[in-house]
Amino acid sequence: MLTALLIMTGIAIVLGAALGYASIRFKVEGDPLVEKIDAILPQTQCGQCGYPGCKPYAQAISNGEADINQCPPGGEEGIRKLADLLGREFKPLSEEHGHEKPKSVAFINEQLCIGCTLCIQACPVDAIVGAAKQMHTVVSPLCTGCELCVAPCPVDCIAMVPVGETVETWKWKYPVIELRPAA
């Protein structure tokens, strides 16, 4: 009994000390994982995920606070990539955070705009050009389609228009597999 106690105690002391030391010696700072997650998120910065922008959401995922299926603009595609990165199982987009939509950009009706600058302040990516009391314009290549500018506009002059297909953006369709009859 005594030898048993002595031996086990000896082992414990050595290991405990080594671990305690290592835990300080190898303390980790920073979290490159957040960057990796952020790189997958679409950067629409719409906040639908419940966080103020993509980066905070990335941070939340990394901390294990948020699930991977809360970003509607990223869609299933994005969830799949996140699942891949984090070694988790894919799950469909969570309903409470919204639905995947076709990509749109904001369009400001030039006739109606009163130049209140509210939309400029709302836009997370500075995609709206203009100054006070001047008509504002959306620079469509910069617009992420987050819709954050729509609500603040006092005269409802902002509409979201779906982005049309051009020869440059046209995509080949997935070839139909004849073996799988349309269910």
Binding site: M1, L5, M8, A12, I13, G16, A17, G20, Y21
Partner: protein, 220 residues
Amino acid sequence: MSHRYTAANTSLRTAGIMVLFTVTFTAVMSATYDATRPAIEASAQEGKMRLINEVLPPSSYDNGLLDDFVTLGPTPQLGLDDGGRIYRARRAGAPAALVLEAAAPDGYAGRIQLVVAVGADGRVSGVRAVGHKETPGLGDYIDPRKDRNKTQPWIGQFAGVSLADVAAAKWTVKRDGGAFAYRIGATISARAVSRATGRVLEYATENRDALFAAQSGSRI
């Protein structure tokens, strides 16, 4: 954890806690071990006895069989690489039977560990395979618990056979010209057990007197 701890401090603290847990649980284990040791030893004895009883009727001897044994060094004839024990059964002091630990090295999947009891009259009293890796469902009929034929287990055919009945060369399966039955598709296992039993019997016959004469607990 607070930042005030230095590395050394932390190490000491964690080590302390670790030690505490270790001591507690080692103590629990040691206590259990001490408490259960007699029971475990009794159970082990009981288990051994039960096995021996399967190969040797308890009525045929009256000594404390388990305490009356000799130790063997590596003995190729018995298939023992690391040695083993031979228990001696006596009835009213006279030799009654030997219970030998042995092994058949050439089973289909390696060694087959055997216990063989040989009566003082040179007849096999019983054989049991106590450890083997033969293919389940194919070669494992050598173990009567796995044998599908419950009424006449294959291993039972050795009981009562002596070297006089079956010459040493015949201790193998019928296919090889021997005397013993086997199951088609798994001749190797049967062959291994039959041949090993034959060798054990030879050994017991040859060394019977020396074995009974030896000091109990001594090493041969």
